[in-house]
């Protein structure tokens, strides 16, 4: 009987204590952010959407090898000897013509392992985070601009993805 009333008393006292803690919290600043109207400034190291500056890409394929989920597809061919020499912005000669550079952002795991081996620092993760799409195939970003000269058939990435089965 004594324990019963003691429990009720202790319950009331401790609940009032915790309500006191919560009451003081009413007068502090709000910590939430009303997202679509207010936006968080992303830190510069944020790892979000991948971007490749294709003009600087030398097509070495080190990013594709580093990727643990194999979301980067690169196809290259050698530039002919009679063609004019092309250089990246840091002076590296681009000896290969990259005619396919596809990144499937739906497969990307945002580990950033691909950006570090890039010799010309053209593949970067940008702080942009709003890029949802309706179709999954729209997540395949095709960065390559040049066309192959040797007449090889250009295999689109979408065929490969579909053949995997979804």
């Amino acid at each position: 009987m004594w324990n019963y009333f003691r429990d009720i008393g202790l319950g009331i006292v401790t609940v009032l204590t915790s309500m006191g803690v919560a009451w003081r919290h009413l007068f502090t600043r709000s910590v939430t952010l009303q997202y679509p109207t207010e936006k968080w400034t992303m830190p510069e190291r944020s790892r979000m959407r991948l971007f490749n500056k294709i003009e600087d890409c030398i097509g070495c394929g080190q990013c594709a090898r580093a990727c643990p989920t194999d979301c980067i597809t690169i196809q290259t061919e050698k530039r002919g000897k009679d063609e004019p020499e092309v250089f990246a912005s840091d002076g590296t000669q681009i000896k290969l013509r990259t005619y396919v550079f596809d990144i499937d952002m739906a497969l990307c795991c945002y580990c950033s392992l691909c950006t570090f081996p890039c010799p010309t620092h053209c593949l970067v993760m940008t702080p942009e985070y709003e890029y949802s799409v309706y179709d999954k195939l729209d997540h395949i970003y095709r960065f390559a601009k040049e066309k192959p000269l040797s007449g090889k058939a250009q295999k689109p990435h979408s065929e490969k993805t579909e053949s995997h089965g979804q």
Binding site: D7, V15, P43, S112, L113
Partner: protein
């Protein structure tokens, strides 16, 4: 002919979509009225074939996959793997890398224990601590994001070093956070831990005796809640944890038998304070250095095998790696702390009330990503 009447046993399925199972876990409860006669966990809903999959990924590429095992404490998960590979290759890291790793691991521990305490309060029926814990965890995640660019799945510990050095001014932010956070732990105690209703609800249910805990191989806060003083950080130090001064809190059984749900919960709260102490010491020991100094050009460990265990927030995490001298692991086996504690669940919950099953499960602080892998 005599037939023994066994009572009216009903099978009750709890999960896999039950919010209190912390993921996708199905519990098959054989109930006799309000009493649980048997609770059989069915796991495997989140199985992602981690161990087989990483046999096809190179050593550096495994780190993002280890993040996804225990997503509440990804920093500690990758730390265990990275240390195992470094031990296999014989890489020694410099003091700066060690100190930053300790800071990050302890911050990860605080974040993980905050989730554990907050969701436990939520399971029992108090919602405020849940939001308060997430508010404080948010500040830790902000610091992680500023350092490595990701909030949840970091890939920050690399084999032989770190992804980035910490930013200038990070130490001040860290100390500022700790100064803010340590009083918040006392606030949380006043809000939840010392609440008499909470104590009555948890202090006498789910008794895991020390003998049972040891025989099942339970580790981490669940073992320490039963009063067994065992911590890999103290008993088999890695990263130079032996140079740090910290206590190992154990369950003392203030409100009932040792090894109750409240003891396990309280061990986590006390561990958070010890982690704050470790972080302060690690920041003081920080020396200048290059964090990329000992990252190997090509990660190709010699043929052999290694077992490395670390103390992750949920217990002892072990990585067993077999290497055939190639660029990919030949075999990788994970000893997961949540899996072992799940095996003891049936023993603990036998004879409990149905509503106490939630309290017991929440106090074990399981993460299904790690159980199923």
């Amino acid at each position: 002919m005599e037939v023994e009447y066994s009572g009216d046993v009903m099978t009750l399925n709890m999960g896999p979509q039950h919010p209190s199972t912390h993921g996708v876990l199905r519990l098959e409860l054989k109930t006799d009225g309000e009493i649980v006669a048997a609770a059989i966990p069915h796991i495997g809903y989140l199985h992602r074939c981690f161990e087989k999959h990483v046999e096809n990924v190179d050593y550096a590429g495994v780190v993002p996959y280890t993040d996804r095992m225990d997503y509440c404490a990804a920093m500690n998960m990758e730390l265990g793997y990275v240390l195992a590979v470094e031990k296999l290759m014989g890489i020694e890291v410099n003091n700066r890398v060690r100190c930053i790793r300790i800071v990050m691991a302890e911050l990860g521990r605080i974040a993980s224990h905050l989730i554990a305490a907050g969701t436990y309060g939520n399971d029992i029926g108090s919602f405020t601590p849940f939001l308060w814990c997430f508010r404080d965890r948010e500040r830790i995640l902000d610091m992680f994001e500023e350092t490595c660019g990701a909030r949840l799945l970091y890939n920050y510990n690399w084999i032989g070093g770190l992804m980035f050095d910490i930013k200038p001014g990070f130490e001040d932010k860290l100390i500022e956070f700790l100064d803010y956070f340590e009083p918040q732990v006392d606030n949380l105690n006043r809000l939840l831990s010392d609440n008499w209703i909470f104590i009555k609800r948890t202090a006498e249910v789910g008794i895991l005796s020390p003998e049972t805990a040891i025989s099942y191989g339970v580790t981490g806060p669940n073992l320490r809640g039963s009063g067994v003083k065992f911590d890999v950080r103290r008993d088999e130090p890695y990263l130079g944890y032996d140079e740090f001064d910290f206590e190992i809190p154990v369950g003392q059984g203030e409100y009932g038998p040792v090894g109750s749900c409240w003891d396990r919960y309280m061990v986590r709260i006390r561990e958070v304070k010890e982690s704050c102490k470790i972080i302060r010491q690690a920041v003081a020991k920080l020396t200048p250095g290059d964090v990329h100094e000992s990252i190997p050009k090509r990660i190709k460990p010699p043929a052999g095998e290694i077992y490395m265990r670390t103390e992750c927030p949920r217990g002892e995490l072990g990585y067993y790696i077999v290497s055939d001298g190639g660029l990919k692991p030949y075999r990788l086996k994970v000893k997961s702390p949540c899996f072992t504690v799940m095996s003891a669940f049936e023993e603990v919950s036998r004879g409990a009330m149905i509503s106490d099953v939630i309290a017991i499960l929440g106090s074990f602080d399981i993460v299904l990503g790690e159980i199923d892998r």
